[in-house]
Subunit: 169 residues, 2 copies
Amino acid sequence: MAEGGGGPVVRTVLQQCLRARLQVEPAEENREARFVQIDRGMVIYICFLKGATEHILPKMVSTLLNLRLCEGGSGRLVSVSELPGSLLIVPQATLGGRAKGRAVQYHTNISKEDGLRLYGAFVSLCEQQLLAAAGAAASAQVTVEHGTYGNRQVLQLDTNGPYTHLMEF
Amino acid sequence: MAEGGGGPVVRTVLQQCLRARLQVEPAEENREARFVQIDRGMVIYICFLKGATEHILPKMVSTLLNLRLCEGGSGRLVSVSELPGSLLIVPQATLGGRAKGRAVQYHTNISKEDGLRLYGAFVSLCEQQLLAAAGAAASAQVTVEHGTYGNRQVLQLDTNGPYTHLMEF
């Protein structure tokens, strides 16, 4: 699903969760750390690579929200939109790593400025599309939460099977 | 790092953890579920794809155990062997999935029989190599734990940042 000729420009890893909790602000002298949390839903770890642009986002969000990756009530697979489940989006620059000897290099990662811009746009689009889908699904209590780009992603995950998937775009 | 001409034959996703707990036997009528647990270390999610053979395992284990992916004491990156940390190995057939429309197909996954055999050999080799390295590192309390191939992988993960990496062989 990579664009054009070269390699992928966005790498995502997806995990199903019963609950996931992520630090969005570290503790400081006079302030406790701040966390966000989702219950049933999907964690999206995301890394933008060189060549990624805004153009890829609508198709990408549509794919991620509509792929049948989640266990529905009867064991049937449904999408996170259909579940309906929440999203926790975790910026994860390490996903762009390539082994060179014993070290890992990140030369194909996008610049921090472009990564931050694309990350913000990706989160907004997920919010719009998931909440629109959930609106249709009536009583749904779904949310989109996300980590702070560039921070340490202190994460706790509780799953009934993570069903880890790799999706590249 | 894929072998030969084609695509990868093994896909792994790596996450750092402070603690990870995995169900290895589900609850039954007269028996509670059984779990394994590691403290500080690395979770390896692994999926063997068509074309994978035993020949790839030694290089793969050596790479995974010696890549500098873990935060050492001074913030310096060290390998899980050097940390020294424990391993939790999670069989994860979903990593072989490819999107086709809204469904996910697993046509490139290896057969269950071959996957089970390679998984067992991979776990054994990790045990040998990590414990040998830890022996050298004196007082280390490291273990290799692993999930039951083919079962639901009920997982709880507690991280100080998962630093998710994708490594394909």
